[in-house]
């Protein structure tokens, strides 16, 4: 379990994380969502003890990261910025990390196979593609078989196959009862992987709820109606308080009125329906709607790169 309490971090006079509190529960994938520069990476660095908070507290299983005696067997982390010496092979990179925890070389070989880097394990990591680098980062995160995973933008740079792989992996890790906390600036990516969402903008909490609830709450339900009598039907719907938009080919997009009610209206009025489809606004739209303020703010002054806050 991950807990952030009133977490605050300033870089100079910029507030990167502002009084942020949330809990990440085990057994499910929790998405950490926000536009670029929202403070996701900074929050993760605070959780991992890489940066020191200016206020508040971040704990994992009730302890500060710095107090964990063998941290890699409790928390596995993938950071957004690369964290590998370019002159070292994947194998030796993992080995030197494993040795600090007293983990043997056999486990190193295991995680190399697990992420599919077996063929290049002895090659210098500097020559790795972005996707291979991500896989190596994930191997490092899994090294200690940790109960908590903190992954910063893990799908970055992965090909479609790699994206499928990481989705499956995250879901499986969560189903094994682990805490999986994964950041992304892509709403759609989170919609297919995360059960729970923590959304931030400008370093502040915007939403902390299930993905479903988030979509429910923030997207407008619409119904697509096709009918030869679209115009009359539109008038009828309007009288009932629905809002309609009519396309040229007799397609109505109705909001503010649900599909069963529209069907009843059509039946009562004797109108023929060719289609009656409830439709959710896209998640991406909902996300943009919610975070619009923070994005607008972030775009005006020089954007604060969140990857490397120095």
């Amino acid at each position: 379990m991950i807990e952030a309490k009133n977490l605050t971090k300033r870089y100079g006079d910029k507030v990167a994380v502002n009084d942020l509190s949330f809990t990440v529960e085990p057994g499910r994938v929790t998405g950490f969502l926000g536009p670029n520069g929202a403070g996701k990476s900074t929050t993760m660095r605070l959780l991992l003890g890489l940066d020191r908070p200016d206020g508040g507290d971040a704990t994992i299983h009730g302890r500060h990261y710095r107090e964990l005696p063998r941290p890699l067997s409790v928390v596995g982390a993938l950071l957004e910025a690369r964290a590998v010496h370019t002159g070292r092979s994947a194998y030796h990179h993992l080995l030197c990390l494993a040795q600090t925890q007293g983990i043997g070389g056999r486990r190193v070989d295991e995680v190399i196979e697990l992420v599919g880097l077996g063929d290049v394990a002895r090659k210098r990591a500097g020559g790795f593609s972005l996707g291979m680098g991500q896989r190596l980062g994930i191997a490092a995160a899994l090294l200690g078989d940790p109960s908590v995973l903190i992954l910063d933008e893990p799908v970055n740079g992965l090909d479609p196959e790699g994206i499928m792989w990481i989705r499956t992996l995250m879901k499986r890790l969560a189903s094994e009862g682990r805490t999986v906390f994964v950041s992304s600036h892509l709403m759609n990516e989170m919609a297919v992987t995360a059960e729970h969402l923590i959304v931030i903008g400008r370093g502040r909490l915007i939403a902390d709820c299930s993905t479903e609830e988030f979509i429910e709450r923030s997207t407008e339900q619409q119904v697509v109606v096709r009918s030869p009598d679209a115009e009359q039907l539109a008038a009828l719907i309007g009288e009932e308080g629905g809002k309609t938009a009519l396309d040229g080919d007799g397609t109505l997009t109705v909001s503010n009125l649900d599909a069963p009610r529209i069907g009843e209206l059509a039946a009562a009025g004797g109108f023929v329906l060719h289609e009656l489809t409830p439709r959710r606004g896209s998640l991406e739209e909902a996300f943009m709607e919610l975070t619009r303020d923070s994005v607008e703010y972030g775009a005006a002054p020089a954007p604060h790169g969140e990857g490397d806050p120095r």
């Binding site: 983990i103 295991e110 697990l114």
Partner: protein
Amino acid sequence: MTTVPSATTRPAAPVDRRPRFHRLMLSEWTKIRSVRSTVWSLILLVVLDLGFTALFTALTAAQWDKTDPAGRAAVAADPTGTILGSGFFLSQLTVCVLGVMVIASEYSTGMIRASLLAVPRRMSMLAAKSAVFGLLILVLGTVVSFASFFIGAPILHAKAPVSLSDPGVLRAVVGGGVYLALLGLFALAIGGIVRHTAAGITGVIGFVLVLAPLAQLLPGSFGKHVHAYLPSEAGHLIAQAHQGKNDLLTPWQGFGVFCAWTVALLVIAAILLKRRDA
């Protein structure tokens, strides 16, 4: 790269029960030996040291009759210092570069984040790194120092005979290794403070090569004192068999001064490491 193996949960990884610091040192040793550039630098250290010992002592011997009496006297007074000094002349730079790289390259590549995630107690990480690197250079430096002595002494023998059993000589030869090890830690501390490879190397070489001649330009006894207490000037005295006529400090005093510099810089590096965001 298509594998999605089913087993991520396995019985807990076999856990090494050796003491924590031992594990950290093992890890730092893996870091050093698994990067090609550090291995090459170590080889360069040996080659440069032994090569220049042979070259300079041979030149000194060949030019002996053309050398002025003062120059001859300086060599004859302390042949050990001449032999070891000619080896260190360039090889000490590889130790400086290595010392900076061992820590600064972790910052430039981002490796430091992985290291600190594995070892969030930053002092322990720095201590293990310093210990492993210091020991490595101590062993290699001592071997090189002895090899350098046994190459240089026979070459100079006809002009300025010296034997390991002469007073101060054994201490000086061992001191050569100690000097290099301490210089390595001095460079590592600066690398940890500036966290940037190029800037760190420039800084250390500035300290070692540039500051000394500059300090000599300072007037009077003030300049003389500043010069004598500079880290590398004081430090290399331990690799001399006797206190030179113009030396303000004895070998052991010089060693003490260099230790003080190194410890002070390591403490600053440690405090900064603890305070700064990684």
